[in-house]
C-alpha cells in the first residue's frame, strides 16, 4: 500500500469574485522509502501541495491519505511525528532570536521527549555541523549551514516522511550539491520517504525515483528516472522543461 496518497487534490484561495486555483485535481502516490519529485515553473502549485499535506494550505477538494488514513484537521501531534518539512529559504525558516540549541530542542519539548542534550548534539553531528555551533544564532551561520540546521530540526522527531520545499534553491551551486548529498545520505541511513519540490530537473534527477511535472496547478506528466534519462516524455511542456536543464543533468 502506498504511504502517501494524494487524490484529486484541489487548493483554491480567495473569494468567489477572485478565485485563485493554486492546485486543481492533482493525484499522486508514494511508496515508503521512495523519493518523489514535483517539478514545474513558479506558481505551478508544487509547493502548495506540500503545504496542503501538512495543513498550511486549505484542502478545497480531494483527499490526502497517509498509510490509508485520511489526514486529520488540525494535523495533530501524531502527524508531526510522522511528517516534517524543510522550507525553501533557510534565512526565513529559523527563528532569528533563538539559538540553534533552542531551535532543535523545541520539538523535543513539545513532544515531551527527554534526553535533550544528547539528542541536540547528535542531531548537529548527523547533519555535519560541529557540536560547538550549538549555542550560535542563525545570523552567525552561512546559508548552507542554516539549511543543515533546518534539516536537523525536521529530523528531531524522527519522522518517516520528509517534505522538501526547494531545499537548495536559496543556496549557491557548490553548497547545493553538498546539501543534496546530505539529504541522500540521511535518506538511505534512516529509510526516509522524500516528497521533494524543485523547479530544477537536474536536482530532481539527482534525488528522485519518480517525478511529476506540473503546470498551472495541474499535473502534466509523471516520469520515472529512466524515462527522464532517456528523454522519452510524451508532453511538449515536459520536453521544454527537460531541454532547459538537460546540459546540467548530463554533467551530473
Amino acid at each position: 500500500m502506498a504511504l502517501i496518497e494524494v487524490e484529486n487534490l484541489s487548493v483554491h484561495y480567495g473569494t468567489k469574485e477572485k478565485l485563485v486555483r493554486a492546485v486543481e485535481g492533482v493525484s499522486l502516490s508514494l511508496d515508503a522509502r521512495e523519493s518523489y519529485g514535483l517539478v514545474g515553473e513558479s506558481g505551478s502549485g508544487k509547493s502548495t501541495i506540500l503545504r496542503a499535506i501538512c495543513g498550511l494550505a486549505p484542502i478545497t477538494a480531494g483527499q490526502i491519505r497517509i498509510d490509508g488514513q485520511p489526514v486529520p484537521t488540525p494535523r495533530g501531534r501524531a502527524f508531526s511525528r510522522r511528517v516534517q518539512m524543510v522550507f525553501q529559504d533557510p534565512y526565513a525558516s529559523l527563528h532569528p532570536r533563538h539559538t540553534l540549541d533552542r531551535t532543535l530542542s523545541e520539538p523535543l519539548a513539545i513532544h515531551g521527549i527527554g534526553d535533550t542534550d544528547a539528542r541536540v548534539v547528535k542531531a548537529l553531528q548527523d547533519v555535519g555541523l560541529p557540536a560547538n555551533f550549538r549555542f550560535r544564532y542563525p545570523h552567525q551561520l552561512s546559508g548552507g549551514q542554516r539549511q543543515r540546521v533546518a534539516i536537523a530540526r525536521a529530523l528531531m522527531l524522527e519522522p518517516e516522511i520528509l517534505l522538501l520545499d526547494e531545499p537548495t534553491s536559496a543556496l549557491d551551486a557548490s553548497v547545493q550539491a553538498e546539501t543534496l548529498n546530505l539529504l541522500n545520505r540521511l535518506r538511505s541511513e534512516r529509510g526516509l520517504t522524500f516528497l521533494m519540490v524543485s523547479h530544477d530537473l537536474a536536482v530532481i534527477d539527482h534525488m528522485c525515483d519518480r517525478v511529476l511535472v506540473m503546470q498551472h496547478g495541474r499535473a502534466v506528466e509523471e516520469l520515472t528516472r529512466d524515462q527522464l534519462a532517456s528523454a522519452t516524455m510524451t508532453t511538449d511542456y515536459a520536453r521544454t522543461l527537460f531541454e532547459a536543464s538537460a546540459d546540467r543533468m548530463l554533467g551530473a
Binding site: M85, A92, S93, P96, R97, P107, I110, P130, Q140
Partner: protein
C-alpha cells in the same frame, strides 16, 4: 578583563548563558557607538543613583519646614536650588521626588506594556473575530485623550499614587497592543512559525516563545519613549491635585505649588520642571538609542 571579553565574543559559545551574555555584549557595543544614547543612559543611571541614595544625596529633610527661610533664591548657601513657600529645601525635595517618579514609571512599565503585548499578540496571531473584538476595545481606549481618561479614572477611584499609576497604565496599554499586533502580523506567516506549528506546538507556546520575542524590541523601545509621557501625566495629575497628595515631594505637585509665585519666585516651579525635563529627555535619548540596538531589522546581521 581581556579573557572576559574574549569569552563574551566567542563565536561558538559553550552554554546558553554565554550565548545570551555574548549577544548582550554586542548590543552594548552597538549602543556605545551612539553618544546621545549614552547621555540618556547616564541621565537614567544618575536618576537611579539619586533615588537609591536619596538620604545621602539630599542636604535636608524634604518635609522639614522652616518658615523663617521661605522662598530663598537659588545660590543661597545651604540651599543651592533655593527654598519653597514653606522653607523646604528644593534640591532635597527633587532628590526624594525622584523616588516617586521612578516608582510610578516602574509600575507603569511593568503593567501597561505587558497587557498591551498580550492583547496585541493574541489578536494578531488568531486574527478573525478575536482580532476584531480585541482591536475594537483598543480603539475605544485610544479614542479618549489620555490625560482626560486618567483624570476620569482618578476621579472615580480617588486620588493617590496607586490609583494614579492604575489610571496611567489603563490609558497607556493600547499603543503597545497596536505595535505588538502589527509586529505579530508580519511574523505569523513566516516560515519559522510554520515550522514550529508543524512540530505540533500549541498556540500558547507559539505566542509566548516565538511571537513575543519578535515583538519585544519594538515594545521596549516604545516603553522608553513613553516614559517621558508617563512622567508628564503623573506630574499633570499631581499638578491637578489628583495624583500624589501633599506634602509628598512629587515633581508635578511641586510645580503646582510654585505656580502661585511664578513671577516673583520663579525657581519654586522651575527647578522641578527642569528635573522633569531632564529625566524625560534622558528616557527619550535612551529610547532612540535602544531602537538602533534592539530593532531586529537593524541588528539582523
Amino acid at each position: 578583563m581581556a579573557t572576559m571579553i574574549e569569552w563574551l565574543r566567542d563565536p561558538s559559545p559553550a552554554s546558553r548563558t554565554q550565548a545570551r551574555l555574548g549577544q548582550s555584549y554586542l548590543a552594548w557595543l552597538r549602543m556605545r557607538r551612539n553618544p546621545l544614547a549614552m547621555v540618556g543612559l547616564v541621565i537614567i543611571l544618575a536618576l537611579l543613583f539619586m533615588a537609591a541614595f536619596a538620604p545621602w544625596v539630599a542636604t535636608h529633610d524634604p518635609l522639614a519646614q522652616n518658615l523663617s527661610q521661605r522662598l530663598l533664591p537659588p545660590g543661597t548657601p545651604g540651599h543651592w536650588l533655593g527654598t519653597d513657600d514653606f522653607g523646604r529645601d528644593i534640591w532635597s525635595r527633587i532628590v526624594y521626588g525622584s523616588r516617586i517618579t521612578l516608582y510610578i514609571v516602574t509600575l507603569v512599565a511593568v503593567t501597561a506594556p505587558v497587557l498591551g503585548l498580550l492583547i496585541g499578540t493574541v489578536a494578531g496571531y488568531f486574527g478573525g473575530w478575536v482580532d476584531q473584538v480585541l482591536m475594537r476595545i483598543t480603539d475605544i481606549f485610544l479614542a479618549f485623550p489620555r490625560l482626560i481618561l486618567a483624570l476620569a479614572l482618578v476621579a472615580v477611584l480617588g486620588p493617590g499614587i496607586e490609583n494614579a499609576v492604575l489610571a496611567i497604565a489603563l490609558t497607556a496599554w493600547p499603543p503597545y497592543a497596536r505595535v505588538a499586533r502589527a509586529e505579530t502580523l508580519t511574523v505569523r506567516t513566516s516560515d519559522y512559525i510554520a515550522a514550529v506549528r508543524l512540530q505540533g506546538a500549541g498556540a500558547g507556546r507559539i505566542i509566548w516563545g516565538h511571537v513575543m520575542p519578535m515583538c519585544l524590541p519594538s515594545v521596549i523601545i516604545r516603553v522608553t519613549l513613553d516614559m517621558a509621557g508617563v512622567i508628564l501625566i503623573a506630574a499633570g495629575l499631581g499638578f491637578l491635585g489628583l495624583g500624589v497628595q501633599p506634602p509628598t515631594p512629587e515633581w508635578g505637585l511641586m510645580i503646582s505649588s510654585g505656580r502661585k509665585f511664578l513671577f516673583e519666585q520663579w525657581w519654586v516651579a522651575t527647578m522641578p520642571g527642569l528635573a522633569i525635563f531632564i529625566v524625560s529627555l534622558g528616557f527619550n535619548l535612551l529610547g532612540d538609542g535602544l531602537r538602533d540596538v534592539l530593532d531586529p531589522r537593524s541588528s539582523g546581521k
